[in-house]
Symmetry: C2
Subunit: 219 residues, 2 copies
């Protein structure tokens, strides 16, 4: 399958790119607003993967989306709507996956910053063309550990969405990553509770010695 | 230590009572608005603990609070303020622990119902007398598994609060329960992110075959 990572030069994009390239036979396309930057990052990822036969291309976001079966918007929440709208014409028969979480930080810790529409994942759905299935996933993965090929994950990721087939495809992509289990969180309207877990992970990591780059396992 | 479980006749109260009675040498006091009901439940718990030498007393909430070093308000969120106010005069040198979560349910699933004050745990703090340290803990424990003495937990519970000593005491109480690890979530103002995990646990349990009575492990 061809997976485009828009904002694939950022930290969560890097982690997903390296894991999919390393653990699966999918083609990873690194997208950026700047095609040169995308190409440079793709080369960097290939170098990190150290001679393994992988296929990591770097393209401008629009071209990356046009080539992909699945588009992951690995961008900060405040760039999400712009990013989706910029590639909207390229999303025929494409599944759009949103991992973004809105957070604010104050003197106490990190807090979930819930958008009026309900969740950041639902913001992606609002911006997507009619008929493009939108799935929320990969919200709760610590980017640092994800991007470290030596680190075991042993984490769950919750998949939410209203299109059953699209959810199944994304769950399969998730489980292609070694040590990642995909769990169904129900419809898109349940995304806020998934996104709200991310600031909790950060707060717990900040307050407990020896814990960092945290994910969760439901058990 | 003497632990009062106000609303100790409900499901989360039952689970905590049975675990503390079984796994530790603390004295558990089951509180209820109705002293007779509390006494009957305490007897029932002792019978369930099946001859083990335990100390589970049943008293009216006020009397339970008066005797306790730690008071856990194991009541639904909408009874929390009333329950705390009813025992306020008995809370000298007492730590107040709030495990309650506010949720609403719609056709999509369960959602966190965040009170205006920030979180349900902060509601408890508002209702508590000045000088009574309030700690949030035990928000994310599935009552059914907690109350089943045969079931392994292997869960984390996040402890939040502004009083360092009170948090340390509650963390120790938590870790007295076999299979429960206490993690520091930071100040009371971080409680909302902890409470918001509970509807997620329920949504995940509803949508995944073979998963039920879920908790989490941070890893």
């Amino acid at each position: 399958m061809d997976i485009a990572l828009l904002g694939g030069t950022g930290d969560i994009g890097e982690g997903l790119a390296l894991r999919w390239a390393n653990d699966t036979s999918h083609t990873v396309i690194v997208g950026s607003r700047d095609a040169d930057k995308a190409a440079a990052k793709a080369e960097e990822y290939e170098a990190e993967l150290d001679g393994r036969e992988v296929d990591v291309a770097g393209l401008a976001n629009e071209d990356a989306a046009a080539r992909a079966d699945v588009v992951v918007t690995a961008v900060p929440a405040y760039h999400l709507t712009d990013t989706v709208e910029a590639v909207a014409d390229e999303l025929d028969d494409t599944i759009l996956v949103s991992p973004a979480v809105g957070m604010k930080r104050d003197e106490d810790g990190f807090h979930y910053n819930r958008p009026g529409v309900g969740s950041v994942t639902q913001l992606a759905a609002e911006a997507a063309p009619d008929g493009t299935p939108v799935v929320g996933a990969f919200h709760n993965l610590a980017a640092g550990r994800l991007a470290d090929p030596e680190a075991d994950l042993d984490w769950d990721t919750i998949v939410v969405g209203d299109d059953r087939d699209a959810k199944a495809t994304v769950s399969e992509l998730a489980e292609g990553i070694e040590g990642l289990r995909a769990l169904d969180g129900g419809p898109l309207a349940n995304a806020a509770e998934v996104e709200g877990l991310t600031p909790l992970l950060i707060n717990v990591a900040r307050h407990n010695d020896g814990l960092h780059d945290l994910g969760v396992q439901f058990r």
